[in-house]
Amino acid sequence: MPPVIRFEDVVKRFGDTTVLSDLNFDVAPGERVTLIGPSGSGKTTILRLVMTLEHLTEGYIWIDGKPLTHDRRDGNRVQLKQKEVAETRKQIGMVFQHFNLFPNMSVIDNVTEAPVHVLGRGKEEARERALALLDQVGLKDRADEHPSRLSGGQKQRVAIARALAMDPKILLLDEVTSALDPELVGDVLGVLRDVAESTDISMLIVTHEMQFARDVSHKVMMFDGGQILEQGAPADILSNPSHDRTRKFLDSVL
């Protein structure tokens, strides 16, 4: 089986600033990988590249062995058409730090919007599935309310249900608890633990919650200056890092 995500010689620059330089890594199907590292080390940029929210400066990203935004044809790097990109993107879901729920829609409409208008599911079918997902995140009884009436933690749980409603192969979690009050973090992480246990969705996780990283991920990658400093099993990296920089970083977040 091809890796579900493969970064090949990926370079990302913003103007003169190089955020990622010659990055190579694979994510196996069903694998959960946590990206750690100081801010500005390029972790979030990696997620945003996979979600096609940023333009890939150089290199290739392969999803399930297929090109995401750029393909290699006859030795040339060719940009794919929007339509082709959109097809691949449907398999990828993302949960954002600031939730980004649609405030003009009810909770249930937030969750059914994409299944109905992107996957072409029937309204009833989408609604039933959405209610099941909202039940899973403990918010079935808030289905008809608007997001403004929910707490941050509840909003994030709706955002998780919204991403799952698309049945993604890959779930990207971008600092999903960073904007939450400390007492609300547990609920969100509990929901994600549940998702991790009950599905085989591959995950790329950017987080500062090291216990969570330890519990759900198969692999931890430490980033520094746009490159992988070291990677390995969470127990190894988080307890016995081989680099001084990793140790310093871990000391600063724990």
């Binding site: 649609f102 919007e113 994409a114 208008h117 919204r162 698309m166």
Partner: protein
């Protein structure tokens, strides 16, 4: 100079006699022009706003020039210009309504553009992460939020448009103020005629402002 008595200044009887005629012109012309003009201004304004945001520069830039020209020339000039331009058989009431509608559409477009830009970037990103098509993103997410942010401005432009309807006299449309003046001419009761016209403007503007505030509350989420 002899003092003017109240009876000379104001006759309730004359006012009562004038009221039906002025009020009739309000409903038949002024209100009609404002309602139809607002519908034109809102729909054309929204179209212009979206076009300036999504169309390629070769279309968007000239469009902005045209919008600037319309906003930077007086409405009365545009009304007269249009009235000379159209075939003589055309009803100038509708020509005037269209001109007023398009004139205000450029102002409304500016407000819409500001509203569109006020929609958080995260909304676009969430829509893209869910693979929503561009059209659906605009229709279901961006425009509803932009419209809500723009509503107070739209209410103000509507009131502004309403107060500009007397310019229709320039192309010989018998709107309310012209009718009031003609009624004054025939009865010499100008005070009553213009006071009534003014009060009708005030009442309708207050009502519109009230309605917009209710609408804003209804759209709270």
């Amino acid at each position: 100079m002899p003092a003017i008595t109240f009876e000379e200044f104001w006759s309730w009887e004359a006012a009562a006699n004038l009221l039906p005629e002025v009020l009739g012109a309000f409903f038949k012309v002024t209100l009609l022009v404002t309602v139809v003009g607002t519908l034109i201004a809102v729909s054309v304004g929204m179209l212009l706003a979206v076009l300036t945001q999504v169309a390629p520069g070769i279309i968007a830039r000239p469009l902005r020039w045209v919008m600037d020209v319309i906003r930077m020339t007086p409405l009365i000039v545009q009304l007269m210009f249009a009235s000379f331009l159209v075939p003589v058989t055309w009803d100038l009431l509708w020509v005037g309504t269209a001109v007023i509608g398009v004139h205000y559409s450029t102002y409304m477009a500016e407000s819409f553009i500001a509203g569109i830009r006020s929609v958080d970037r995260g909304q676009w990103e969430a829509a893209r992460a869910l693979s929503l098509p561009q059209g659906r993103t605009w229709r279901a997410i961006v425009l509803p939020q932009a419209l809500r942010a723009t509503l107070p401005a739209l209410g103000n432009w509507t009131i502004s448009m309403f107060k500009d309807t007397p310019y229709l006299f320039a192309i010989s449309v018998l709107e309310m103020v012209t009718v009031a003046q003609q009624a004054g001419n025939s009865t010499f009761r100008y005070n009553e005629a213009f006071t009534i016209a003014g009060l009708i403007f005030l009442a309708a503007s207050l009502f519109t402002a009230f309605a917009v505030r209710r609408l804003e509350k209804a759209l709270v989420y």
